[in-house]
């Protein structure tokens, strides 16, 4: 059977897939009955772990007196590097010690951990350590790192054409520097893990992780035991957004180490302030750009240096910064381009994956450049953007992949331009700004083109385990994790569709390394693409066996057999699915299968800087309108229209949820969410009291979100498209609209506005424009 023959059917002929089915845990969520790690009832004698954090930013640990910690009430054990039986590290690059040994490289680094009878006792004891650190001058900012030439990895670039010659020959040139802030994930459930030791040293770890396989590997490494001794289970996370990919490892491994040392079940749930201090964030960048363009705003050459603050270790920076480069052109054909990147070391927490994985930073830079070009040429920014889009004849990216379907985005933009009434509103806003002294309004429409696939080849695989029981109920397990995105629901929809049974016959079960091994992290938006395919493969295999059996039993041919509505239609008789399942068992037909999928057609040669890293692109566009107060910098997003391409959606309700949620999260990144490190390297925005993510009143009252309902041209599961990350970048429209509002103060000048565009930065930009 060709893959996805059913994808050629229209959505109306599907019974479960493409329906706006609710999240499988929704009823549990609203009752408070959905269990997260800290809700798992602990057995008697369970102990609690708290980390001790470095008070210094960089230096050698001279003394670490833990006697007061050991003497504190309730303390059972104190963990130091000496307690680690295996390898004291959580990273592939061997540069993220589980517990700092000898030196500290950022403030808040874990220097020991306490195990105590209660969490409260553990936290109190952790503050009693006497630490003496011989401090060295830390490298804190991007500028510090550039000056010191401090990097975690070599520079990397890709180039097409001759950008230097093209810049020199261009009619106009502009250059600038854009600072792009980082972002704290602020998953509502902080990092948490609960480890239970087994009878002969094996370890079961319940963890809030996007990557159970990786945690299994890390725990096995730390404890010096084979992977087969370690099982990691994850039922759900209270949010993750990339922050529980590698960053869940330390919490999980500390809980496991505590359980190993004490031989008791041990739990570590980080306090929110500790979570802020210990775990990595979105990379902040400084993009140094030069652009050459003509009178029409057509770009002739773009040269950009993406200076990424990676923090104190490598972690996921290779992929993150590469992806920033892949998205540095966004949806635009840049005839001559040089995209250069630096991966800078700083004495700050190691930056990590965050929804978009570098893509947003690369994309923000080019979108900011589009506005600069528009302001310089006096053309409407939307016209400048449109003039530069990939087209059928100009469709090769700076990394050599051909964009096969540029028409999808072009027509999507046209539709949004019309449905958002862009031109008429542009005129109204211009008229308003003429006469309004304090409140200025702005409008922008920006596109997103996001490449789908892990850029690390081997991660583009997935496994799923499907059992059909003799009563017709189905057990579904796969390597993907549920973090709220609805992956479990979508994959169950695929399986229910395959067997033609009601969705509630499919029992979704917790991700578990003992059921599906060697899984990839649930990341890169690839969860349903990969796991949906693997589960479909497993279901098809079982279904094939059931069909083979039925053809014999009922003397039919395979093409006479259909599974639908809980029945198996065989020619002109019908057998209930449960009955066929029972018959299969009685006739020794295996009703269990492990399915597997690997993404075809992708390849990337990093050294040669060419290939096809992405199976396809997900597209979208947003039109945002804002108002700013030029006396205070306060601002408000007043209306947003979004048109987003989720292919033929597996579940429109869940997809709209991803789009709205991603947009609002991106809006936070670009407006109120500011990470402030003080001069000593302490994260001053250390908790939600000082780090402000959007609340309900920040969301535009007029918020119109629609799906572009067109099948993916690539052969994905039911021709759907990945939707986890791309919508975050739709929020660039908000930043761009803020630029537009500021631009109205003095249309003769370029606006200087870094991200996030806090009220303070907006006021600073406004003041700079007011100066004559």
């Amino acid at each position: 059977m060709p893959p996805n023959d059913s994808s050629l059917l229209g959505a109306e002929s599907l019974a479960v897939v493409s329906h706006p089915v609710r999240h499988d845990s929704a009823a549990l969520h609203v009752r408070g009955a959905a269990a997260y790690i800290d809700d798992i009832r602990e057995p008697q004698g369970a102990l609690h772990v708290a980390p001790g954090l470095s008070p210094a930013t960089r230096g050698r640990i001279k003394t670490l007196n833990l006697d007061p910690v050991r003497a504190a009430p309730g303390v059972v054990a104190v963990l130091t590097p000496a307690d680690v039986p295996g390898h004291n590290n959580t990273s592939h690059f061997d540069d993220d010690p589980l517990i700092a040994d000898g030196a500290v490289v950022f403030r808040g680094q874990v220097t020991f951990a306490v195990v105590a009878r209660t969490r409260d006792e553990a936290r109190r004891a952790a503050r009693l350590a006497q630490v003496e650190i011989e401090e060295e001058t830390p490298i804190l900012t991007i500028e510090d790192a550039l000056a010191a030439n401090a990097t975690v990895l070599p520079d990397y670039d890709f180039k097409i054409g001759d950008p230097h010659a093209a810049l020199a020959a261009a009619q106009h040139r502009l250059e600038g520097k854009l600072r792009i802030g980082g972002q704290e994930h602020f998953y509502l459930e902080g990092q948490a893990a609960f480890a239970i030791p087994g009878e002969s040293g094996e370890m079961l770890v319940h963890s809030s992780t996007q990557d159970p396989t990786e945690l299994q590997n890390v725990v096995a490494g730390v404890l010096g035991m084979p992977n087969a001794f370690v099982t990691v289970e994850t039922r759900r996370m209270g949010g993750a957004f990339g922050g529980k990919e590698t960053q869940a490892a330390q919490t999980g491994a500390l809980a496991a180490l505590a359980a190993y040392v004490t031989k008791q079940p041990c739990k570590l749930r980080l306090d929110r302030d500790d979570d802020f201090a210990i775990t990595g964030k979105r990379h902040d960048f400084r993009a140094d750009w030069t652009v050459g363009f003509d009178d029409e705003g057509r770009i002739a050459a773009y040269d950009v240096a993406l200076n990424a603050r990676c923090g104190c270790s490598v972690d996921m920076s290779p992929g993150v910064v590469d992806r920033a480069m892949f998205h540095a052109a966004n949806a635009y054909h840049l005839p001559a381009t040089n995209i250069m990147s630096r991966r800078l070391f700083t004495n700050t927490v190691s930056n990590t994956a965050f929804r978009g994985f570098g893509g947003p930073q690369g994309m923000l830079a080019i979108e900011r450049v589009m506005d600069a070009v528009a302001h310089a040429t006096g053309r409407d920014p939307l016209d400048v953007r449109k003039a530069n889009l990939y087209t059928a004849g100009a469709n090769v990216t700076p990394y050599g992949q051909t964009v096969e379907d540029p028409d999808v985005l072009a027509s999507l933009i046209d539709k949004l331009e019309a449905s958002s009434d862009y031109r008429a509103r542009r005129a109204q806003i211009a008229a308003w700004n003429e006469t309004s002294p304090i409140i200025k309004r702005g409008l922008a429409l920006t596109p997103v083109q996001f490449g789908i696939s892990f850029t690390l080849q081997h991660l583009n695989q997935a496994g799923a385990l499907v059992h059909v029981y003799q009563d017709g109920s189905v057990h579904l397990n796969h390597g993907g994790t549920e973090m709220g995105q609805g992956l479990f629901t979508k994959v169950a929809q695929v399986v229910a569709e395959e067997f033609g049974i009601p969705l509630d016959w499919v029992r979704i079960t917790a991700t578990n390394t003992a059921k599906v091994p060697n899984a990839s992290p649930t990341a890169a938006s690839a969860g349903s693409d990969l796991n949906g395919m693997a589960a479909q493969a497993a279901a098809r295999e079982i279904k094939g066996r059931m069909i083979a059996f039925a053809t014999e039993r009922y003397d039919a041919t395979p093409d006479q057999i259909r599974f639908r509505d809980g029945l198996v239609v065989i020619g002109n008789q019908t057998v209930p699915f449960p009955e066929l399942a029972k018959l299969c068992r009685q006739n020794r037909v295996q009703l269990s299968h492990a399915g597997f999928y690997k993404t075809p057609d992708i390849h990337w040669d990093r050294a040669a800087r060419t290939g096809r890293p992405f199976l396809y692109y997900a597209y979208g566009a947003a039109c945002a309108e804002v108002a700013i107060d030029v006396l205070t910098g306060e601002n408000k997003v007043t209306r947003v229209d979004i048109l987003h391409d989720a292919g033929r959606s597996l579940n429109p309700a869940l997809d709209i949820g991803q789009i709205e949620g991603g947009f609002v999260q991106g809006m936070g990144w670009l407006t109120t969410e500011e990470l402030v490190f003080d001069a000593k390297g302490r994260l001053a925005t250390h908790a939600p009291s000082t780090y402000k993510i959007p609340v309900a009143s920040d969301v535009p009252a007029d918020f119109r979100v629609a799906l572009l309902d067109e099948p993916n041209r690539a052969a994905t599961i039911y021709r759907s498209k990945a939707v986890g990350e791309p919508p975050l970048m739709l929020a660039i429209a908000v930043y761009s609209a803020l630029l537009d509002a500021l631009h109205s103060i003095d249309p003769g000048k370029q606006v200087q506005l870094d991200a996030p565009a806090t009220p303070e930065r907006i006021l600073k930009a406004a003041e700079a424009l007011k100066v004559v």
Binding site: R236, G238, G484, T672, P688, P694, V695, D698, E760
Partner: protein, 493 residues
């Protein structure tokens, strides 16, 4: 009369509890003692709302339901209340209408914020008198962070399910629940613990004054929206706590005179809002943006002044209006101007054994204008970078009086003496005459840089807020001077 335990209602049954530590929080009790894990901890500091539960109390014969942050509410503060948590809402397998609406609108993704959101909406619904509006829903949700959904489906669910009056089984059982609460009501002085470690809640000011004189080292507790964080974040363990939440009479009275408004220090910020708004409409936004519904339900006006915070929102407004406070120690009463109470950073004019009991605020005269502005990174539930309050007297179009106070600009909430002086004589119709005063204000303060704002920004804002005040009182309508109420004008169709 003394009582050696606290009493409350949980899961429909009365609980008398004596064995709790004075600084235990309600969230700890729920999750660790009652094993009720539906209520979540997202931050432990009152900022995320994942721990929101509802406390019901009897008030003037009616049930009064308030959302609170269980993470920073001390256990003793539930005395006399019914605790309602997310587990209470569904009846068997039937979801409460709010829960059902949340499911129908896809209002949960990861679900971790959901219990708190459901409880905030439940409090909204139970107190709603008519159709609910979007601004009401936004206000009710200002203290609930959701990182997944972008809020739109939650707001839709609320619009569908939170209109009042509620007609669910909770509303139906109001009389029974009031009776159960009444049964617990007494006028005893609560004292749980020993003379060296206790949670006390005197029922009268006389008892309070005596107890505090006896234990001047005790910590006075009002709403715990500050104190709670000292416990959960700084890990302090105050051994002696005197909670003022059982006091009534003058301590929670509102006396609305023609010339002045007197507010008892024990009024919650929620209860103080309406009377404050009678002073000037600008208090509406200041109060709406004070923390969140949860913070306002617990926090008190007395606590917000007594704590001496340099970044509090109420103090600068009241200083600009010339408010006075009344303190009591033993049987001694003393009155002083509010601004004199703030001596220096973390230092107030409060004697050992003395507490704040009343705030007296003169109403602005008809020939005086008042303006108050809060500027923060985020509109809702954020601490001010700067709060400016302006009280301006006019003779015709000329300024003849100015009393200006700021929060966020110095180590205490304080006035702007040079600007006040330079403002005299300003001609509203001649902006050239404004310049001197606008410059003066930048000399009045030397603010600091911190995570919320830089010193330069604060200084610029102080000047610009003064400018905005002058623009507004000279006649520019607030619809085009303020972003907060700004709405996109409807296009001509």
């Amino acid at each position: 009369m003394k009582r050696d335990h606290i009493s409350f209602i949980f899961r429909g049954a009365r609980v008398d509890l004596a064995g709790f530590s004075p600084h235990a929080t309600l969230l700890e009790w729920l999750r660790l003692n009652a094993r009720a894990t539906g209520t979540k901890e997202g931050c432990g500091e009152g900022d995320c709302g994942a721990c929101t539960v509802v406390l019901a109390r009897a008030s003037d014969g009616a049930l009064d339901l308030r959302p609170v942050n269980a993470c920073i509410l001390l256990m003793g503060q539930v005395d006399g209340a019914e605790i309602l948590t997310v587990e209470d809402l569904a009846e068997g397998n039937t979801l409460h209408p709010i829960q059902q609406a949340m499911v129908d609108h896809h209002g949960s993704q990861c679900g971790f914020c959901t219990p708190g959101i459901v409880m905030s909406l439940f409090a909204l619904q139970q107190s709603a008198q008519g159709p609910v509006t979007r601004p009401q829903v936004e206000r009710a949700l200002a203290g609930n962070l959701c990182r997944c959904t972008g809020y739109r489906p939650i707001v839709d669910a609320a619009m569908e399910s939170c209109s009042g009056p509620a007609q669910d089984r909770f509303a139906a059982a109001t009389a029974l629940r009031l009776a159960a609460l009444a049964e617990m009501t007494d006028s005893a002085d609560v004292f749980v613990g020993t003379s060296t470690q206790f949670f006390a809640a005197p029922a009268s000011e006389d008892a309070l004054a005596a107890l505090y004189l006896e234990h001047p080292d005790a910590l006075i507790l009002s709403g715990a929206t500050d104190v709670g964080l000292w416990i959960t974040k700084a890990l302090q363990t105050p051994p002696k706590i005197i909670w003022l939440g059982r006091l009534r009479g003058a301590f929670t009275a509102i006396e609305a005179g023609d010339k002045a408004l007197s507010l008892g220090a024990g009024l919650t910020l929620a209860d103080a809002s309406a009377p404050l708004i009678t002073l000037h409409p600008d208090f509406a936004e200041i109060m709406r943006r004070f923390g969140s519904a949860q913070v306002r339900a617990s926090g008190t006006i007395g606590g917000s002044l007594a704590n001496g915070s340099p970044i509090g929102d109420i103090a600068p407004c009241l200083i600009a209006l010339g408010a006075e406070i009344e303190l009591r120690r033993g049987s001694d009463l003393r009155r002083l101007p509010l601004e004199a109470y703030f001596i220096a950073y973390k230092q107030q004019d409060r004697r050992s054994g003395e507490y704040l009991r009343r705030i007296i605020i003169p109403r602005p005269a008809p020939d005086r204008a008042f303006r108050a502005f809060k500027v923060s990174k985020r509109f809702d539930e954020d601490i001010s970078a700067v709060l400016g309050a302006f009280h301006i007297g006019l003779a015709g179009r000329h300024v003849i009086f100015a009393r200006i106070a700021f929060g966020g600009m110095a180590a205490t909430p304080s006035r702007a003496p040079q600007a006040e002086m330079a403002a005299i004589g300003i001609d509203l119709d001649a902006p050239a005459t404004w310049a001197e005063a606008l410059t003066a204000i930048t000399l009045d303060y030397a603010p600091i840089d911190d995570a919320r704002a830089s010193a330069g920004y604060r200084t610029l804002i102080s000047r610009n807020l003064f400018l905005k005040t002058l623009m507004e009182i000279s006649g520019i309508p607030a619809e085009i001077t303020r972003i907060s109420g700004f709405e996109v004008p409807h296009a001509a169709e």
